[in-house]
């Protein structure tokens, strides 16, 4: 990437947290958490509310100091190389935080100044970013007239204005309409392809299947599992099946010796774990051949969601 010799040697790309802990008074928000987001990949940070995701992101963004443990950004220590680390990090908080009376263009220009970008190309850079998040038409409107989703996109542009190599996004998809979500997905894949390390914390797990290369599951301030999306898919997936004749479906599944769960959704359905797509295809064929009137047959959840739900189950 044309950078001068990077300190820290090999494996020093992206952002790494090693055994970080942080407590607020009696509350241990993060305990010995390990986290690694390599360059060129999208890493999802998944966990229930209060799991310590935002606290971890604040520490990664060098806003919050860990009580113990170390954080390195491209091999640099935020405590010692403050400015260098800040130049490399783009952070999009979960709160929107816009200066309401300023226009989108003014906000981005101010932020560019705060990052000490060269004045010569600043206006062009701002226009470029506005275009990238499709806010060019609204560039000169005060930020207060922007909708939540538009403010969210402005927030993303703000995180990207100084072209950071590590991008930390806290719930970037919340408040976005489906079209914008797809765009965000495409944009994040592009940014990863440019070699940036991207960290996304999100609850919308089905989306993450499409974006994330790997996921770090956290709960109660600890890292529970580190898993790539492929691994997650390989671990099996839950399928939901419904039939106009529920009894026949249940009978056939019992006959095949499969354990299943009756779901209490709006339509009567059952769900069961299948290891892979071949298993699914075989089961569907068997059911149809057996004359079970199958109405729907589809994955009940995303691969990452499956892991997440299993972890939730373990917790109880």
């Amino acid at each position: 990437m044309g950078l001068p010799a990077r300190p820290g040697g090999p494996g020093a790309d992206g952002i790494t947290a090693t055994a970080v802990s942080r407590s607020f008074g009696q509350v241990h928000a993060v305990e010995h958490m390990d986290f690694r987001a390599p360059a060129g990949k999208v890493t999802a940070l998944i966990g229930p509310n209060g799991a310590g995701k935002t606290t971890l992101l604040l520490m990664l963004a060098s806003l919050l100091a860990p009580d113990s443990g170390t954080i390195t950004v491209e091999g640099l220590d935020p405590r010692r190389h403050r400015a260098e680390v800040r130049r490399r990090i783009g952070w999009m908080p979960d709160t929107l935080g816009v200066w309401e009376s300023l226009t989108a263009r003014e906000i981005l220009t101010q932020i560019a100044r705060f990052y000490q970008l060269p004045k010569a190309g600043m206006a062009q850079r701002v226009a470029e970013m506005l275009d990238r998040v499709r806010l060019s038409d609204l560039a000169d409107q005060p930020a207060r007239v922007l909708s939540r989703g538009q403010q969210q996109r402005l927030s993303l542009a703000r995180a990207l204005i100084h072209d950071p190599s590590v991008l930390l996004l806290d719930e970037p998809a919340s408040g976005l309409d489906p079209g914008s979500r797809v765009e965000l997905r495409v944009m994040l894949r592009q940014l990863a392809a440019e070699g940036k390390a991207i960290v996304v914390s999100s609850h919308v797990l089905s989306e993450l299947d499409e974006i994330a290369d790997a996921a770090v599951f956290v709960n109660r301030g600890r890292t529970i599992r580190h898993q790539t999306t492929d691994e997650a898919a390989a671990a099996g997936r839950r399928y939901a099946i419904s039939a106009t004749d529920g009894a026949a479906l249940a009978a056939k599944l019992t006959e095949l010796g499969l354990t299943f769960r009756v779901e209490d959704g709006r339509r009567a359905a059952v769900s069961l774990m299948l290891m892979n797509d071949d298993d699914a295809a075989r089961l569907l064929r068997d059911l149809v051949l057996a004359g079970v009137p199958v109405r729907s047959f589809a994955p009940a959840s995303g691969a990452l969601e499956e892991t997440y739900m299993n972890l939730e189950g373990e917790r109880r």
């Binding site: 100091a65 400015a83 130049r87 100044r113 100084h162």
Partner: protein, 383 residues
């Protein structure tokens, strides 16, 4: 990618100091842009202008009415001094009062208001240093409060134009008002960085201002009660003068009007000089004491009391500061200069203490803005 490498490899175009100031300026611009676009600020400014004008006019009308009344009830005509001094003093006192009331409102939510709105962390995550954010917020709040002083300048000038005062008075008064507003703004910004909620910090800042204005008086009053000591002094022998002498021929008050004789004895005295520093912190005392006035010893009418409120406050405070050693008749066997000759100013002490307080709060505020943050105020989220 080119952008980032450009940014990292770019040699610091400006010097370190200039870069620091540049960051402060950027924050000031950001803050002032927001203020200039809020309608409330203009409305407040308009109300301020009208109120100050009203007070000026009322003072002038009251002075006129008083003079009319004097003319119709007695043949005695008071010396024509013009309303200048009085208008100037009333307007000055009023402007200072309202400046002290407005400045906390403009400054005390500067930092935690942003924290609540989620925009503080956005600044903190950039290359801005905590000092730049804090100084930027302070200068912006100060500038916003100074606009109110600018709006009241015409009336201070009217006070001068109506006679009795020099332009120097206006300049010094405005300068001191500006400094006082700056002190309050710094206190407000410092507290806003320390306190979690804007409402709380605004209230605390108002209390701090009340502490300076009223608390200093109360503390001084209580403090004098606790500083009863004795002083060595002998007897004062007052010169007798004839009550039938015409007013103009009374002895000029330049010399002490008594002589000291006899053995030194312990006499009870209040050591006001030990608690005068509390009085000195009062913004009114600082402003009044800094405004120059002529030494009255050569007053043609032999008036032994100061002219106007400003001088009274200043002389009273200086009297307290001089303490019994400087003011008690025949302390240590020496005749003391008269009341009006107290010429050691105490506004530098008062202003110094105020700046110390403001500086301490700003420093504590700066500590709370440092990142990566180690300690957070209870109940605050950094984002």
């Amino acid at each position: 990618m080119s952008q980032r490498t450009e940014a990292t490899q770019r040699p610091p175009a400006r010097g370190r100091g200039a870069g620091y100031l540049g960051g402060i300026w950027d924050v000031v611009v950001l803050e002032l842009k927001q203020r200039l676009r809020s309608r409330g600020w203009y409305i407040m400014l308009g109300i301020w202008f009208i109120l100050t004008g009203l007070v000026t006019w009322l003072t002038w009308a009251a002075w006129n009415a008083q003079r009319e009344a004097q003319r119709s009830y007695s043949t005695f005509t008071a010396p024509e001094t013009g309303p200048g001094s009085m208008i100037f003093e009333v307007v000055l006192a009023f402007v200072l009062l309202f400046a002290l009331l407005v400045a906390p409102a403009l400054s005390a939510n500067a930092v935690n208001g942003d924290r609540a709105g989620g925009t503080l962390a956005i600044l903190q995550v950039t290359l801005l240093r905590p000092g730049q954010i804090l100084w930027g917020k302070f200068f912006a709040a100060w500038a916003a409060a100074l606009a109110f002083l600018v709006a009241s300048t015409p009336f201070l000038i009217i006070g001068v134009a109506l006679g009795g005062m020099t332009p120097g008075h206006v300049v010094v008064a405005l300068l001191m008002l500006a400094v006082e507003v700056g002190v309050v703004s710094a206190i407000g910004v410092g507290i806003s960085a320390l306190a979690g909620r804007p409402l709380f910090s605004i209230v605390v800042t108002y209390l701090a201002v009340a502490g300076l204005v009223f608390g200093s008086l109360i503390a001084f009053g209580l403090g004098t009660g606790l500083s009863q000591r004795t002083i060595m002094a002998n007897q004062a022998q007052y010169r007798s003068y004839s009550p039938y002498e015409p007013l103009e021929e009374q002895p000029a008050p330049m010399e002490p009007e008594y002589t000291c004789s006899g053995p030194l004895r312990e006499q009870p005295a209040v050591h006001t000089d030990r608690v005068a520093w509390m009085l000195a912190m009062n913004p009114y005392v600082v402003v009044a004491d800094a405004i120059p006035y002529p030494v009255r010893t050569s007053n043609a009418f032999g008036m032994s009391s100061p002219v106007g409120a400003i001088e009274s406050i200043s002389q009273g405070a200086r009297y307290a500061m001089a303490g019994p050693d400087g003011t008690y008749p025949c302390a240590n066997g020496e005749a003391k200069p008269r009341y009006l000759a107290q010429s050691t100013p105490l506004w530098p002490l008062g202003l110094g203490l105020q700046l110390l307080l403001a500086g301490l709060l700003m420093w504590l505020g700066w500590r709370s803005l440092r990142t990566p943050a180690r300690r957070l105020a209870r109940g605050t989220r950094i984002a």
